[in-house]
């Protein structure tokens, strides 16, 4: 299972960086979206995936059960929320660039 997710992470990274290197601004944003999810998946898979109980320990049920590590889940939730916020901002920025300034291609951004 882990191996598959690692492969997925690899594919997402390749895809994300490929999109980042495009000249179209909206593709760059899509690339960021894919990359941030690749990062989240790394956190998800890093501590290992096991079949285990939810990490809520009540009384004597500790013995004999494997409990899932709750921390990566907390981390990944945080990272997803942050990624969503940043992406919302990025979409707004791209909207401005395209609609207001008419810039769709990064080559049109040269200064000086």
């Amino acid at each position: 299972m882990e191996a598959w997710i690692v492969i997925v992470v690899g594919v997402l990274l390749v895809l994300g960086f490929y999109l980042l290197m495009q000249r179209s601004v909206s593709r760059i944003i899509l690339g960021l979206l894919v990359l941030s999810n690749a990062g989240n998946l790394v956190i998800f898979v890093a501590p290992g995936l096991v079949r285990a109980k939810a990490p809520i320990i009540s009384g004597e049920s500790l013995n004999g059960f494997l409990h899932a590590d709750p921390l990566p889940q907390a981390l990944i939730l945080t990272a997803i929320v942050i990624g969503m916020g940043v992406l919302a901002f990025a979409l707004g920025l791209v909207f401005k660039l395209i609609k207001v300034l008419g810039i769709e291609d990064v080559d049109e951004m040269r200064q000086e």
């Binding site: 980042l20 601004v25 760059i28 960021l32 990359l35 941030s36 690749a38 990062g39 989240n40 790394v42 956190i43 998800f44 898979v45 890093a46 501590p47 290992g48 921390l71 990566p72 981390l75 945080t78 990272a79 942050i82 916020g85 940043v86 901002f89 990025a90 920025l93 791209v94 401005k96 660039l97 207001v100 300034l101 810039i103 990064v106 951004m109 200064q111």
Partner: protein, 508 residues
């Protein structure tokens, strides 16, 4: 445990929470811009009071630890103020006060202020302070994102074309840096099982040589923080974006943002990954030297004050990481001293460039001039900051470079001595270039008479001039009182290498 002991332990959350509350309070008074200005100044002063008492307390009793939510240390998030964090908070609060004063008149245009400039600046300070004071590497990531989010919006506030295009570069490169950071944190947690700095330091101390997986984490973090700090070869976003926003925003960015990256580098590579053989320090050495050289050459080639200053930030960052690469407490203390000096001097130069711009209506070197004749005091202040940056005694930069070079000589590292000295000549050259064009030469004939010469008193007692004077006196003061400040930075840097007190305070 008595009540006073508890309240002292909670002191580290004061600066970040104060900044957060300031930002929220400003949101409540959306239309009262004058009130927001006062609120921001108030928040900055509160931040200063907290930070100052933190420095005093930490200097006496050692690191203070606030356990958020009351969770025991390696499990919950802790805010830890050791001497270095506390001093950086103090510097942050001083810069914030100065910029808050600067905003009172002519700092930032009203239509930007109307769109929550004051809240955003406070939120950015919240992120910066949190990053300085956190004891948990994932929380460091969260603080980075907070300050980035605020800085993204600050950067586009006003919707100029240059701002928007600069912001895209800034956004993309910073998200890539965050990706590296998150990946590193995930792998680090998988390998070590903890994210707390003290616990990490304790657990990784058993390795003589890092295993490849952890070495990879170290390099990922080097890339992540290197992007944020503006190190070679990943600095190009910085000159592309820093000069675009209005002056108070540029000054905030120049003073604080790259420094957070630097602080994180220092924290991670002295505390968590001090290992030899991981080749990270060799990388940092090369990167530092190249950063210094490339940054200063880029600065020399520019023809506007703000562009020179923005590119020049890159060069200065190299000096600080050079101190880290040398890896002795003295070198790190020199790097720290350098960082603080640079925060004052560079912010002040940005603010002065704002004053020049409001006098002459432009910051392009070719179209400006004659400041020296009309505004003697401003010229003196510029000279203090610029020569301080270049390293002329008795100003702060001289001692910063002196300490750094002494530390390099102690290591027989003559190449970095040569680089540091050579680069400072070019620094001097780039500052003199601004001086010659903007201050010394006669103004071009077609310069619109934007502001007539005013009387001395009215010239000096404007909010802009007061804040610029304050910072210049700090640059001067850091030179005159170099001894005590050096002692403090030496103590702070020893605490970074001898992590015993920190670990005991956190994991107690």
């Amino acid at each position: 445990m008595s009540l006073s002991a508890i309240s002292i332990d909670w002191l580290p959350i004061g600066p970040p929470v104060g900044a957060l509350l300031t930002g929220i309070a400003c949101l409540f008074f959306w239309n009262q811009i004058r009130l927001q200005r006062y609120l921001q100044l108030l928040g900055a002063v509160v931040h200063f009071v907290f930070s100052f008492s933190l420095v005093c307390t930490v200097n006496e009793v050692g690191p203070l630890v606030a356990r958020l939510g009351g969770w025991a240390a390696p499990f919950g998030i802790v805010y830890v103020a050791d001497l270095m964090s506390a001093l950086l908070l103090l510097v942050t609060s001083i810069l914030w006060i100065v910029i808050a004063i600067y905003n009172f008149k002519g700092g930032i245009d009203v239509h930007r202020e109307r769109y929550a400039y004051h809240s955003l600046a406070s939120f950015m300070i919240f992120g910066v302070s949190g990053a300085f004071v956190t004891g948990d590497i994932f929380h460091l990531y969260v603080c980075f994102e907070i300050l980035l989010m605020a800085s993204f919006v600050l950067m586009v506030l006003g919707n100029d074309k240059e701002q928007l295009t600069g912001a895209l570069k800034y956004l993309v490169i910073n998200l890539i840096s965050s990706l590296f950071f998150v990946t590193a944190v995930g792998i680090l947690y998988a390998q070590v099982g903890t994210l707390n700095f003290a616990d990490l330091s304790l657990k990784l101390a058993s390795f003589d040589v890092l295993p490849p997986s952890l070495s990879m984490v170290a390099h990922l973090l080097l890339v992540a923080f290197g992007i944020k700090a503006g190190l070679f070869p990943l600095f190009y976003w910085l000159p592309a974006s820093y000069h675009n926003p209005p002056i108070p925003v540029s000054a905030l960015f120049a003073g604080l943002l790259t420094k957070v990256g630097l602080y994180s580098l220092i924290r991670v590579f002295t505390f968590v990954f001090p290992h030899e053989g991981a080749s990270t320090f060799a990388w940092i050495w090369w990167i530092s030297v190249l950063t210094m050289i490339v940054g200063v050459i880029g600065a020399v080639s520019k023809m506007s004050i703000r562009r020179i200053l923005s590119v020049h930030i890159v060069s200065q960052v190299g000096y600080v990481t050079l101190g880290l690469a040398l890896k002795t407490p003295i070198a790190l203390a020199a790097a720290f001293y350098y960082m603080v000096h640079n925060m004052f001097a560079k912010t002040n130069l940005f603010l002065i460039s704002g004053v020049v711009e409001s006098i002459n209506g432009t910051d392009s070197l070719k179209q400006t001039g004659g400041i020296f004749k009309k505004h003697l005091w401003l010229s003196i202040l510029f000279l203090i900051s610029a020569l301080g940056l270049a390293g002329i005694p008795p100003l702060s930069g001289f001692f910063a470079k002196l300490f750094l070079i002494k530390a390099a000589i102690a290591q027989d590292d003559f190449w970095s001595v040569a680089a540091a000295l050579g680069v400072s000549i070019f620094t001097l050259f780039s500052m003199i270039k601004i001086w010659n064009y903007a201050f010394w030469k006669n103004p071009p004939d077609d310069l619109p008479a934007a502001s007539p010469a005013t009387s001395f008193a009215r010239h000096i007692f404007t909010p802009q001039m007061i804040s610029v004077t304050l910072l210049a006196s700090l640059v001067l003061g850091m030179g005159i009182f170099a001894g005590p400040i050096w002692e403090l930075s030496l103590k702070a840097s020893h605490a970074m290498f001898d992590t015993q007190a920190y670990i005991e305070a956190v994991l107690r």
